[in-house]
Subunit: 410 residues, 2 copies
């Protein structure tokens, strides 16, 4: 967060942000950024009330205790508040929202739900003209990692959890995650927005992955089903139902393929249909991105530039082409059915330093042309172009080669 | 759009919208909504300048001609403009944005890119605190439908195109789509936002799917690659490169699995990582949703309620549980290894009207327990609960059954 503010010249904020002060439990702890240059506050609530502060960013956590006290202090002092605290918002969101309204300040919490995925603002603002029927998703990366990994490795819940803790994918005390409570906090917040509902967390039905057995995952797999912890909010005639529980998804279900620690939210509404947002659900970077998006929202320029470029931004130019890009390529040619044709093709490539990774040759078609497709190793496009020039001179090429850039999953 | 305004009591707009007037080429054409109750304007520019109009919504299309004239007239008259016109924004967006700024009005165009997916605002506002490196996606549903369908059915480009035209997935004149031009308009707009760049459409490199051969798709498939029309904008040292061309994606690439007429945008940035948005890229409903999201943005209440609920919205309650929901279920039990155990299980289900769709039984484990998993047909949960009560009385059940709701792709 601080690191991101320090390089804000690279960002597209509508104005300039200044860090007034910093507070945390321990001043002396080693941090990736140097906090010594900022005013230090031992007490978060004192920082929240400081006259130099316009916006209080709360990243403490916990539904009660110091986080709640500091947020309330900030709101009461007429400061905008940005929080990443899902437990706080799920339990006290309505009361805090009322306090913020009373004081005429904003209470923003994009980072509280689904990390870097900007689903709060999408639901609240972009889809304000949509009648939402259902919001469902994978809102806890730890649970998704556990169920994915159990099935993939055939190991028990306890083994996989222990490994996840070692890798940092699960907390030392994983209760909040594996019980489904963390996902429930997020689902309740999304439901309140989507359905204009009075958030009442006591009504949310929660079960987690802690009772999941490898046997269940394996048998479900044999029946074409993936068991995942699904959080959902849906509109019924009686009101808003919000629940978190393991569900068995058919293999072709859009949420079934979301593996590992990713988060996904699927929003179904009329007349938009279904929109799915996928991304990193936790971590310092995604959280900082979400917080900064909320910071950006607090600027209220008289005129909002259509493409988002503020006066202090330097415009970049569009340029016609990349420099000499390196890529793997798919190359398809049709060769005349004559001896040495394939050798001539591969020699032409080799002569320009283009090496073949995979090759398939099809039997000759009615015209006697034999299609060949090649996947090259990564090479500069200039090499590939030189090879194409060489190929152009070969008489055994029936027509122009087809060249397509390859992209693999990163 | 009109239909959506007429049922705005079901939506979550921050204020009330009124249709001042309507203009189209022909007043007498049959439309799904009754336009007779609104003031009719034969000329869009006259409507745009009408003193009763605060916001002009342009859904005419075309980069020049009446759409451009009407949008310019509206902006000059100091009206906010909302447009779904990607060609207009790609070619004249910079000039129109400057005109809007000069006049102190908003120019919004969420519907111009990726239909119902709110990617314009996500990029511009939510991710304003992120350094975007690349925006890539499938931005033309027609092209994606064509390449998907060719490979699935083994038919030629011409055959699949003709069918797509019959089904309404492709225009009578498909040039704008299949040439890649439509995707290029959208990619250029996204690039301008993502990279704070001066949009210069003449620099965009465009090739389409019109040269794609079934042979290429098939050979690529054999090499584990999916050829799709990919639109991308990326930040290079020289400036912004924007291009549209067929690319070969590895089968595990996040964009490779997006089939049919869906749109997808993948945004890569620092420090958020990658966020993927998927949804309907075209159609009246998604377009109207996007336009209404822009309408919502024009309201500027003094205080923005944290959960988006304005004063005129009626709050819905959270309720503890659904009524008697109908669903298919995954049921797993462990049966004692004794004759008639499976029969007793299936009889208990049948007695409560729960019918078995699929069943797998595993060999008995060390303790002699034999795991059985069942996928039921859809039934009311109350039937399933009654069946569970019956099962609870069976002595051959080793432990408590595991019941998980099933959801299939809709």
């Amino acid at each position: 967060m601080i690191e991101l503010v320090e390089r804000q010249d690279k960002l597209r904020l509508p104005g300039v942000v200044e860090i007034t002060g910093v507070s945390a439990r321990s001043q002396s702890r080693n941090r990736p950024v140097d906090t010594d240059k900022y005013r230090w506050f031992d007490d978060a609530a004192t920082l929240a009330e400081d006259p130099d502060v316009d916006v209080f960013v709360e990243l403490i956590g916990g539904s009660d205790g110091p986080a709640k006290f500091a947020v309330e202090s900030a709101l009461k002092a007429g400061k905008h508040v940005i929080t990443a605290n899902k437990a706080l918002m799920a339990k006290h969101g309505m009361a805090l929202a009322a306090l913020a309204e009373e004081k005429g300040v904003d209470l923003l919490f994009e980072a509280a739900v689904a990390g870097g995925i900007p689903v709060v603002r999408v639901l609240r603002d972009s889809l304000a003209g949509v009648e939402i029927k259902r919001v469902a998703g994978i809102l806890n990366g730890t649970c998704n990692y556990l169920t994915t990994s159990m099935l993939e490795t055939g190991r028990s819940y306890d083994e996989v959890l222990a490994e996840a803790q070692k890798l940092g994918y699960a907390e030392a005390d994983p209760t909040l995650d594996v019980s489904g409570m963390d996902a429930a906090h997020k689902a309740a917040i999304l439901s309140a927005i989507a359905f204009s509902a009075d958030l009442d967390f006591s009504k949310v039905k929660v079960s987690g992955v802690d009772g999941i057995d490898l046997l269940d995952l394996k048998l479900a797999d044999r029946l074409g089903l993936r068991i995942k912890l699904i959080a959902e909010g849906l509109l019924t005639e009686d009101g808003v139902v919000c629940r978190v529980e393991p569900m068995a998804l058919s293999a072709n279900h859009p949420l079934a393929r979301v593996n590992g620690s990713l988060n996904t939210v699927r929003i179904e509404g009329d007349p938009v249909g279904a929109i799915t947002l996928t991304g990193p659900g936790a971590g310092a970077g995604p959280t900082a991105s979400a917080v900064m998006g909320d910071v950006a929202k607090l600027f209220r320029p008289a005129i909002r530039p259509a493409f988002g470029r503020a006066e202090h931004h330097v415009a970049r130019p569009f340029v016609a082409a990349m420099g000499d890009e390196t890529s793997a390529f798919f190359l398809r040619v049709r060769l005349a059915d004559q001896p040495g044709a394939l050798a001539a093709l591969t020699e032409a490539l080799a002569a320009e330093g283009v090496s073949v990774n995979q090759l398939v040759q099809d039997s000759a078609d009615d015209s006697g042309a034999s299609p060949v497709a090649i996947v090259t190793h990564r090479c500069p496009r200039s090499h590939m172009q030189a090879a194409l020039t060489r190929l152009g001179k070969l008489t055994m090429l029936i027509d122009a080669p087809r060249l397509i850039r390859i992209e693999t999953a990163s």
